[in-house]
Symmetry: C2
Subunit: 514 residues, 2 copies
């Protein structure tokens, strides 16, 4: 396999599985071009009755053949039943060489590995959290997997790079026309917009629900006009695992300190006092503590945020109800408070990856966010960030919205300086998920590093009493504590590509020799 360097000097295959790759050129170096995919033109006359009596009948109607691509969304997370159900039935049909294109897989999808080994599935195009990622690291897939961000997945489907033959959309609420949302029913999960691209561009679209309601189901997040078949099954997922209900603020003093530093950094930067303040934070323990701090500053200074980007959870919902934020623009709900608020509060708005994150649009919402708080498994001296592999080389995480969210005004990584006995700040990241040019600030409990390229931020923080240090110093402190960490031993084979938002390849993940 011929390897070529991309703009970061990372070696990527020139071609893999017969597909010629485009090397990464820079975070915003490409400008689109060409035309979006044109889905097949169907006629209403052939859609007088879309209800299928069983999942088997719906699968049969999709005419899935060897080598085709089948897609799913992951809003049911680790409580999802649908992917395993459909994949089992595809195996029973004796199919082979399918491409699985879920927006993400979770530990509950471990049975997929068996189907991969038996030849049903050649590889995954989608996020692999946990066991399936581990299988990928071990080289157990016949072909090379592709990792994409939420926005990158939308782009790939929209642009025709990822053609979906049949999409199966888990719909907590749907009608017989195929109008669907995730707001009610036993498997209610809030947004289901990760499936939007699938519904628009797949050749065949199946809405699978455990909560069939009379027409019209409103809002139609998935529009019936894009749906071929509707089928009712007993249960889409396990509500306990769909929504954890236990999203909690960290109690770790280290992590609480990081959250405090992050909030003080935002305060001292002055961006909160400027018009149209907005923020995006995740649902991790540091992020939740950060949200509490920011809210306190907003109350003190009588500041109202124009909007906050979800994922949503109780803490964000409380701020919306208090009037501290104008809108929640939400891509996924992390707890039941998020689901209920999306259903009941007209200022809690569902967004999809086209609107929020897709690089190939005429602008997206990520560009409007003032501060994005994100986590990482590694950050290196060039501010490159890894969220996919661990320092021991295992591929265990999808990209999520990470790379897309870096389009905000300040992209801030919050992380403890060490995780176990491994430093977070390293000389070179194992895998580049996002390039240093898009990463602005690293906040650890031992100090804060600002990307030297962001002179405006350095200027903004001049008067601050925060422990701002060169990233090299943070790296030195970490290594003094851990010693130089051992590097993982990789084989030559590339088992996964890390695709940048624009479809270029930013890095390649190699097979692990554990």
């Amino acid at each position: 396999m011929k390897m070529i360097p991309n703009a970061l000097g990372r070696m990527i295959p020139e071609e893999i599985d017969g597909r010629k790759l485009k090397p990464f050129l820079g975070a915003h170096a490409t400008h689109g071009g060409g035309r979006k995919a044109g889905p097949p033109i169907r006629a209403t006359v052939d859609y007088k009755d879309k209800l299928r009596s069983s999942l088997d009948e719906a699968i049969e109607a999709c005419e899935i053949k060897d080598g085709m691509t089948v897609s799913f969304h992951h809003h049911l997370r680790n409580g999802d039943f649908l992917i395993n159900m459909v994949v089992d039935r595809l195996a029973e049909r004796g199919l082979k060489d399918l491409v699985l294109a879920p927006s993400a897989l979770f530990p509950c999808h471990e049975p997929i590995i068996d189907h991969i080994e038996k030849g049903l599935i050649t590889h995954i195009e989608g996020s692999m959290n946990g066991p399936v990622g581990r299988a990928c690291s071990l080289g157990r897939m016949r072909k090379c997997c592709v990792l994409r961000s939420h926005g990158g997945r939308y782009r790939a489907i929209q642009d025709g790079d990822l053609h979906v033959d049949a999409a199966f959309i888990a719909a907590p609420c749907a009608d017989s026309h195929g109008n669907a949302n995730g707001l009610s029913g036993p498997s209610a999960c809030g947004p289901i917009s990760f499936a939007l691209a699938d519904s628009l561009y797949a050749d065949r679209v199946v809405v699978v629900t455990d909560n069939l309601q009379p027409f019209p189901v409103i809002p139609w997040v998935i529009r019936g006009g894009n749906v071929d078949h509707v089928v009712q099954i007993d249960r889409l997922g396990d509500p306990e695992k769909i929504i954890s209900g236990t999203t909690r603020i960290t109690r770790s003093p280290t992590r609480l300190l990081i959250a405090e530093y992050a909030a003080r950094f935002v305060r001292d930067s002055g961006i909160m006092d400027e018009p149209e303040f907005s923020f995006q934070a995740g649902a991790g323990g540091i992020s939740l503590a950060f949200i509490q701090h920011i809210a306190e500053i907003m109350r003190e200074r009588n500041i109202r945020s124009a909007f906050a980007r979800g994922g949503s959870m109780k803490y964000l919902v409380d701020l919306l109800n208090e009037g501290l934020i104008g809108y929640i623009l939400d891509g996924q709900a992390f707890d039941l408070a998020g689901v209920r608020s999306l259903r009941d509060n007209p200022k809690h708005i569902e967004t999809d990856p086209f609107t929020s994150y897709n690089y190939h649009t005429k602008g997206n919402f990520a560009q409007r966010v003032k501060i994005s708080i994100l986590g990482a498994t590694e950050v290196d001296l060039d501010f490159n960030v890894n969220v996919n592999t661990h320092s021991d080389g295992w591929l265990l995480h999808g990209t999520g919205g990470f790379t897309d969210a870096t389009d905000g005004y300040i992209t801030m990584i919050t992380a403890p300086l060490l995780r176990g006995r491994m430093p977070i700040i390293v000389d070179k990241v194992t895998t580049v998920t996002t390039p240093g040019e898009t990463v602005d600030v690293i906040v650890t409990e031992r100090g804060i590093a600002i990307n030297p390229g962001r002179e405006d931020l350095i200027e903004r923080l001049k008067g601050s009493d925060l422990p701002i240090k060169p990233i090299e110093e943070l790296h030195r402190i970490a290594v003094e504590m851990t010693g130089e960490p051992a590097k993982p031993v990789f084989g030559d084979r590339v088992v996964a590509l890390v695709e940048w938002r624009d479809g270029t390849i930013i890095d390649a993940v190699r097979q692990l020799k554990p």
Copy 2:
């Protein structure tokens, strides 16, 4: 010009202006095929600031060239300022041979005729209500115009038959990202979804507003991710003429009788007592009276309609508030009560032509409507309906949602037997807008005719005391009153094509020799 017959025996050109035409084959004879248009792929990096300081700057940025197609929506109706403003500026730029593709033109757009004569515009692809239609009838356009229904226009843009180079979207409320709706501001008009296809498929999209609001404008009926430029102007239109505010129930005893017959027909058919009753009626005087009658029957029998299709107006809104209908699914607002209800009532839902009407989808809402009440200029003995031309040959009306709405379970035409000294029921309609196979019932003050093809309806009405008669008898009664009406004198030249929902040509309108 070689003329060929279509499935109705109507003579249409084999080819016109270099475009080969597909003759109409039957209302539901075609099944799609091929792929939808793929709009250009753009990148967010080029959309950091979309605000243009003037309409001229926005037009300049669209790089409009001779021969290109420029589009508009018509939700501001006869109060629209934008089309004339843009067209004047395109003329000032010295352009020529443009195609104008508004969803509709109204009497206020009469100045367009001058631009047509001076060579700026070769022809119109869109509805022409009033003076521009009259100019078309007289052969004042260089090329042949195309008339499409609301759903047909969406289809044509979606399928690439009508490629729009630059779309100008009048937006009563918008933000600097291009998110837009019609719910507030001095030019509030309710829905603006006739512009959805333009926003999705045009090469360049300009949102023009007189009410620029902070990001995010919600709901984003037009999504900023599809918008190239945003420009603020003083005023989009004259609110008095955008919303008439005077939609009134007829006082004519003839028309009141027709409305009563229509409602009794619906009652006697039994469809109100079956599950998921729903209806669509327009905003004309007969329709409003019909709505009152239907509401009375619903109250008496304790029936609740699953939904009603708009256009919306006070009478429909009152029923929604009373709880007699579950939802209003609305394509346009006919009065301020409609605008306010759409803004404030979560059960009043904006729909677009993709969702409601497009034949090239996987099903649309029109198929779900139990009874559609529609008007007509002529109906013939084969139940063919004309809504485009008058019996004197003048092209004066667009198709609107007429042909799309015929997909409901019962399509009912309500009309007085005579209009002036002309019979409504004729031997052969001047122009076929929709074929008889899609038209089920004609209700006049002198009797009701059921399409003999609808044996199920004839059966349903067997016990009814309504004056049900063969259509030939209604025709005879009319002609006895008026004498055989004079036929208009047409030239050979085809000045407009009437396109059926699937892109085939159902009829051709010829130049009038008045």
